[in-house]
């Protein structure tokens, strides 16, 4: 796979899955804008690593639930790179709680970032990609958006919403040469999953046919494929990368 000459924006790229995706796209030749919300130092390290591969990279702070900030981020990316070929909507948060204990704020925060944020970023890049008559949008959903998960009503709803959004935008943008696909990672070892209660983790492990946690590299490889020429005839799909959890 070769992404030389392509440019990408990866949200939530300072750590975890987003970081792995940003580095993999860069390794394959793409220039990558590294979005972060809070961890500026970590984002810088990712951008530095990308630059050390000889690609262009810069960091861009943005709360993706803020539409003005998202517009500014996309504008800056297009200005810096001249075009935008790949958007990876990866940024996400968790505010886990049992349904009956879940505060309205916990619900709103997760929907705002994990679902509305994907909408806002997609909307913002559409203009540029429509002009180019090409583009790849890759949304990071989750296996829980397909099969549900106790204690994650907000996260599950948002990630299921991302799947619907993926399909709607795929249909809308297909005539303009833009593909939109989702990846539904299973249980991947990251900072975010480290925060899950041990009990939840153990229970999840028993549900993974391949019997192990996934690695961020597994998701990055799928994202790179969906961004590559080999995936040009694929749109509106949900690629499960979950050790077989959802079939």
């Amino acid at each position: 796979m070769n992404l030389t000459g392509k440019t990408a924006l990866v949200t939530g790229a300072s750590r975890g899955i987003g970081k792995a995706i940003a580095l993999e796209l860069a390794r394959l030749g793409a220039d990558v804008a590294v979005n972060f919300a809070g961890s500026e130092q970590k984002a810088k390290e990712v951008a530095d690593e990308i630059q050390s591969m000889g690609r262009r990279s810069f960091i861009v702070q943005c709360d993706i639930s803020d539409s003005d900030a998202v517009s500014a981020m996309v504008k800056e990316t297009v200005e810096q790179f001249g075009r935008l070929d790949i958007l990876v909507n990866n940024a996400g948060i968790t505010r886990d709680n049992l349904l009956m204990r879940m505060k309205e704020q916990e619900w709103d925060d997760v929907i705002d970032t994990n679902l509305k944020g994907v909408f806002l970023c997609t909307k913002a890049v559409t203009r540029q990609m429509m002009k180019q008559r090409s583009g790849r949008i890759i949304n990071i959903s989750s296996v829980v958006g397909r099969i549900g998960n106790a204690g994650q009503a907000n996260y599950t709803a948002a990630k299921a919403g991302v799947i619907g959004l993926t399909k709607a935008s795929a249909r809308e943008l297909a005539p303009r040469g833009i593909t939109v696909n989702a990846i539904a990672p299973g249980f991947i070892a990251t900072d975010m999953t480290d925060e899950l209660p041990a009990e939840a983790k153990e229970q999840l492990l028993t549900q993974i046919p391949l019997g192990a946690l996934g690695e961020t590299a597994d998701i990055a490889a799928s994202a790179a494929f969906l961004a590559s020429d080999g995936a040009k005839y694929i749109t509106g799909q949900v690629l499960g990368v979950d050790g077989g959890m959802a079939m």
Binding site: R127, M130, K131, E172, P175, R176
Partner: protein, 77 residues
Amino acid sequence: MADVLERVTKIIVDRLGVEESQINLDAKFKEDLGADSLDVVELVMELEDEFDMEISDDDAENITTVGDAVTYINSKN
């Protein structure tokens, strides 16, 4: 006015692949010129570039005919 209409006409001809003779101020993008919703969004984007202006989503929704576009552009210049 003539200049604006000329430039708008050129964009419509290029974008929608219609004949120049089909274009008049009353022509509706969708009904008369065969544009779908996405075509209209793209037309508005091209008008923004051509005339170096920003057309808000609210304003864009009210631009349904060639005349609407010309009037809007003249009102902003």
